[in-house]
């Protein structure tokens, strides 16, 4: 479920407009809401025209990295006659993120339509939707929708009689964070362990089954039908030049009204936390926020006046990530929070690269020891050094993902670490 902001449901709710309406899950209900009209438009367009519109719209990947979607599609080879694939990354596993799940749960056809349009744009004849292993209810809804769409001719041989064919396969993963990394996802999809591989080769050159492949996030694909139906200028009415459009914000932690909110990009983070979500409950003060899911750098309560665009969050020293702020109030021990985050990444490391396999676990152990009151001041130096060694030296960025919050928490909440080390006491109230 997601909620609009400022009650302007009709204008800003691009992704979440029909969430909470059970009929929107069915094909008939979806058609009543204007579903698959954008697909009809796309079928009359050349693949490169679709890519061009998405390029002009400035849509950026919603999986965390924010790479321009149209540009990514543009990397796909232009010739026909060779299998191309689209993978929809529905392995939403970033702690704090719960937006893709809601899109698939409430409006599966929106994503399916997005998949079909994107497949046409990149000349793919087959779409794999890779769903996180734990999303059983989601997969039931999604399967139902795919079956309905097949039966009605929206998927399969000669979509809507256009002569263009496209299949969709829903694939349930086995439950691994790293399967959300695009090459890890493809390894897993091909039947292997979810182990990322070195790029190059990039997926557009050599993806699943050795064929050119594009991997897009659920929310990215769900944004596509609106853009194709209404044009790039329509999409650019929201957000900034570099970060146009709207975005689902998964707000969690110590908030009066946590939840999913669809917001125009650029709303100040403080507004999201205090006005949209009502701030911390019981009159407590916000102490820290991880704005983009657990792999992004911490912000202090004083740093929340930043613009929530890709560039704005970067300027604030953090990252938009998956737009999943985890809010921690003054009762939170930030050392403990960081230890829990490190534990998560140690548990989810695929184990290929030494830095990630051994480093994330060592970091979690050091933090645990400090938490247990056995820390030493030199541990802080060791942690800083490990941050150095775990950055940019591995196949994928899982190791970097623990460094971002760790380094920022050491920089910004050093008092918490020192207090635990020197007095075996927490600075939380």
């Amino acid at each position: 479920m997601a909620y609009p902001y400022r009650d302007d449901r009709e204008t800003t709710t691009v992704l979440s407009r029909h969430m909470g309406e059970p009929e929107a899950r069915t094909l008939s209900g979806w058609l009543e809401r204007g579903g698959y009209e954008a697909l009809g438009t796309a079928l009359e367009m050349e693949p490169d025209e679709i890519t061009e519109i998405v390029k002009e719209s400035g849509l950026r990947g919603r999986g965390g990295a924010g790479f321009p979607t149209g540009m990514k599609w543009g990397f796909m080879p232009k010739e026909n006659g060779r299998a191309h694939y689209l993978c929809c990354n529905a392995d939403e596993s970033e702690p704090g993120a719960f937006k893709d799940r809601e899109i698939m749960r409430w409006t599966p056809h929106l994503m399916i339509e997005g998949c079909l349009i994107a497949a046409r744009a990149i000349r793919a004849g087959h779409v794999y939707i890779y769903v996180r292993g734990e999303f059983f209810p989601v997969v039931r809804v999604l399967n139902q929708a795919v079956v309905e769409a097949y039966e009605a001719g929206y998927i399969g041989r000669s979509v809507l009689g256009s002569g263009w064919s496209c299949d969709i396969t829903v694939h349930l993963g086995a439950g691994a964070y790293i399967a959300g990394e695009e090459t890890g996802l493809m390894s897993s999809l091909m039947g292997g362990r979810a182990e990322p591989w070195m790029k190059p080769p990039f997926p557009a050159a050599r993806g699943i089954f050795g064929a050119p492949t594009t991997v897009n996030n659920v929310e990215t694909l769900a944004s596509v039908p609106g853009i194709v139906a209404n044009g790039s200028a329509w999409y650019r009415q929201w957000g900034s030049d570099e970060s146009p459009g709207t975005k689902l914000w998964c707000c969690s932690g110590h908030l009066v009204k946590p939840g999913n909110y669809e917001l125009e990009l650029g709303v100040p983070l403080s507004e999201i936390i205090y006005d949209v979500c009502g701030g911390a409950p019981d009159g407590k003060r916000v102490r820290a926020v991880i704005p983009g899911g657990s792999s992004t750098p911490f912000l202090t309560a004083d740093e929340l006046d930043c613009e929530t665009t890709y560039e704005g969050m970067q300027a604030a020293g953090s990252s938009l990530g998956t737009a999943s702020p985890i809010v921690m109030d003054e009762s939170t021990c930030l050392l403990s929070a960081m230890r829990r985050i490190a534990q998560f990444y140690a548990h989810e490391s695929c184990g290929q690269c030494v830095q990630c396999r051994e480093g994330t676990e060592w970091i979690a152990k050091i933090l645990r020891r400090i938490e247990d009151g056995d820390g030493e001041m030199k541990d802080i130096d060791t942690l800083y050094d490990l941050c150095e060694q775990l950055t940019g030296r591995t196949i994928c960025v899982l190791a970097d993902s623990v460094v971002f919050p760790l380094r920022s928490s050491l920089d910004k909440f050093r008092d918490e670490y020192e207090s635990h080390i020197q007095q075996d006491a927490c600075t939380a109230t």
């Binding site: 691994a176 790293i178 362990r193 182990e195 591989w197 070195m198 140690a346 548990h347 989810e348 490391s349 695929c350 184990g351 290929q352 690269c353 030494v354 830095q355 990630c356 396999r357 051994e358 480093g359 994330t360 676990e361 060592w362 152990k365 050091i366 020891r369 030493e376 030199k378 541990d379 060791t382 060694q389 940019g392 030296r393 591995t394 196949i395």
Partner: protein, 541 residues
């Protein structure tokens, strides 16, 4: 090393200040090797095709690249400037070692790999000798991963060479990485058994002491081993091997790289068979039959006595072994010619075949002997019809065949029975003279493999007692028969001399030189093949 040299164009690059030109499909780690820089590596192995670049120890700095790059996975490019030992590269490498040692038990004093361990080597090379670790280590224990191979999970650095060897070279999916992250370990796939005939290679590719052959476990420290370049005698492939010995005992065989024969690999039959065949009773002094009894004697007396008796021989049969060296077979043939025995037969033990799919030339071949081709070359005939027939009242001369499965009374009626060998089976004890000779491991010499490749082996063991190489004994006998031993006909005293006499007298071997056979061997009749572009295609053909 350079893959397809002919089609790849050359590119020039600079590695640690040295200019080099290599084919464009060379990886940086291989190009560095060519200028004498050995970049540390764990997951990279030249014989395993995949390059996952996961151990991150081969990271190097390449000018113009924002991040360190894995040198195993990056191909050379024109004008590339590589620094393998820049401060950042060294720091990253040292960090990898520290991280690998976080959960490593540091049980080097009881580890079989100590002394030949790439974790030890790189710890010293990077000076990563003190850890900041202040936590308890993870303990995972050990496991039997195959009937004869143990897995020490705590020592494992998860380079996955073993898994990738099995998958990509042996094409067997029995071995997997189980679990993930710091809890990952190597295991067999649930329900699968690691019984591949080439599984032993996973122990060789293991850069640390995680995979260990149980029959070598705790047997020797690496630095106490004597290592000898040799050839595996257990089938006709003739894999190049190193024989490791301790105190005159063979403790293991390891494959020795030869791209023309066995690449980096060998089969498990070969690893075990030689050690097992080291058993049995050996004659350790010449034995002569006097008053119906075998009496030990010295070499001088024995050779004179045998030469005297051989002068009386006019007809008889000969049996040789395909385990005998080329030089021994040659001098045996020379002796037989001298005393007038023609022909001669040999038997080759047969066994099941096995092929290594990733390097199909390497096969465990049905012929379980190293030198059947050599025996044929010297005029002996393969004999497949069961046991050797009894010589009856004729003379019989035997070279190295153990006469193992024959009846006890075999050869008892022979007019003269000469046994030149290294086993004392019941039939061999019926000989009039037993001349003790060395096994191949106790001498220098050559074998000719299934495809006519002549390969040298070196002496790994001291001979048993007074045993001497058969060619030496037989050459002395020939010389005694020719001139009564006055020194008129010089017998060779070195294997190289015996080899040169043999190639001069054997037309099929005429191209060979002792030196050019070297450590890698040479094909018979290979002179045409050795000259590239010998024949340009005819115009208009």
């Amino acid at each position: 090393m350079y893959g397809n040299v002919k089609t790849a164009e050359l590119v020039s690059l600079r590695i640690d200040g040295t200019e080099i030109s290599v084919p464009s499909n060379t990886s940086v780690i291989e190009a560095a090797e060519a200028v004498g820089v050995l970049v540390p590596r764990y997951c990279y192995h030249p014989g395993i095709p995949s390059r996952p670049a996961q151990c991150r120890v081969c990271l190097v700095e390449i000018e113009g690249q924002p991040k360190l790059q894995p040198s195993c996975n990056i191909s050379v490019q024109e004008g590339m400037v590589v620094h393998t030992a820049s401060e950042e590269a060294r720091s990253a490498r040292r960090s990898v070692i520290e991280l690998l040692l976080v959960n490593h038990p540091l049980d080097c004093p009881i580890c079989d790999a100590a002394g030949q361990c790439m974790l030890q080597d790189y710890a010293f090379e990077t000076r990563q000798l003190a850890s900041r670790l202040n936590e308890e280590k993870l303990v995972m224990g050990r496991d039997r991963i195959a009937e004869d191979i143990l897995y020490f999970a705590d020592r494992c650095i998860l380079c996955t060479r073993c898994v990738r060897f099995m998958r990509e070279v042996a094409e067997d999916d029995a071995l997997i990485v189980a679990q993930r992250g710091y809890r990952a370990y190597i295991d067999t796939f649930p329900g699968a058994v690691l019984d591949n005939p080439f599984r032993g290679n996973i122990v060789d590719v293991c850069p640390v002491g995680a995979l260990v052959h149980e029959d070598f476990l705790f047997k020797a420290r690496f630095w106490d081993l004597d290592q000898t370049a040799s050839v595996c005698p257990s089938c006709s492939t003739g894999c190049n091997v190193t024989i490791d010995t301790v105190e005159n005992q063979i403790v293991r065989l390891k494959p020795r790289h030869n791209s023309e024969v066995n690449s980096y690999w060998m089969c498990d039959h070969g690893r075990k068979h030689l050690i097992m065949s080291n058993r049995g009773l050996r004659p350790e002094a010449p034995l002569l039959r006097r008053d119906g009894k075998l009496v030990p004697t010295g070499w001088g007396e024995a050779l004179t006595w045998v030469a005297e008796r051989l002068r009386e021989v006019s007809r008889g049969m000969a049996i040789v072994s395909p385990h005998a060296a080329n030089e021994s077979l040659f001098y045996f043939r020379t002796l037989l010619d001298r005393i007038g025995i023609a022909g001669g037969t040999f038997r080759v033990e047969q066994g099941e075949e096995a092929i290594l799919p990733g390097f199909p030339k390497l096969q465990l071949r049905a012929d379980r002997a190293p030198n059947a081709s050599g025996a044929e070359l010297h005029g002996f005939e393969r004999f497949d019809g069961g046991a050797h027939s009894d010589p009856g009242g004729d003379a019989v001369a035997v070279l190295e065949d153990p006469l193992g499965e024959l009846p006890d009374e075999w050869g008892r009626e022979a007019s003269f029975f000469l046994y030149v060998g290294n086993r004392l089976s019941p039939a061999a004890r019926n000989a009039h003279a037993i001349l003790p000779v060395t096994t191949f491991a106790e001498m220098e010499g050559t074998f000719t493999n299934f495809e006519g490749r002549v390969q040298r082996f070196h002496q790994a063991l001291q001979p048993a007692g007074l045993a001497r190489p058969a060619w030496l004994v037989l050459a002395r006998l020939v010389s005694l028969l020719e001139d009564g031993g006055d020194g008129g006909v010089a017998a060779p005293t070195l294997a190289s001399e015996a080899f040169q006499v043999m190639v001069r007298a054997t037309p099929a071997m005429a191209d060979l030189e002792w030196a050019s056979v070297g450590l890698k061997g040479a094909r018979l009749g290979s002179t045409e093949a050795a000259v590239p572009h010998a024949q340009a295609p005819a115009e208009g053909a």
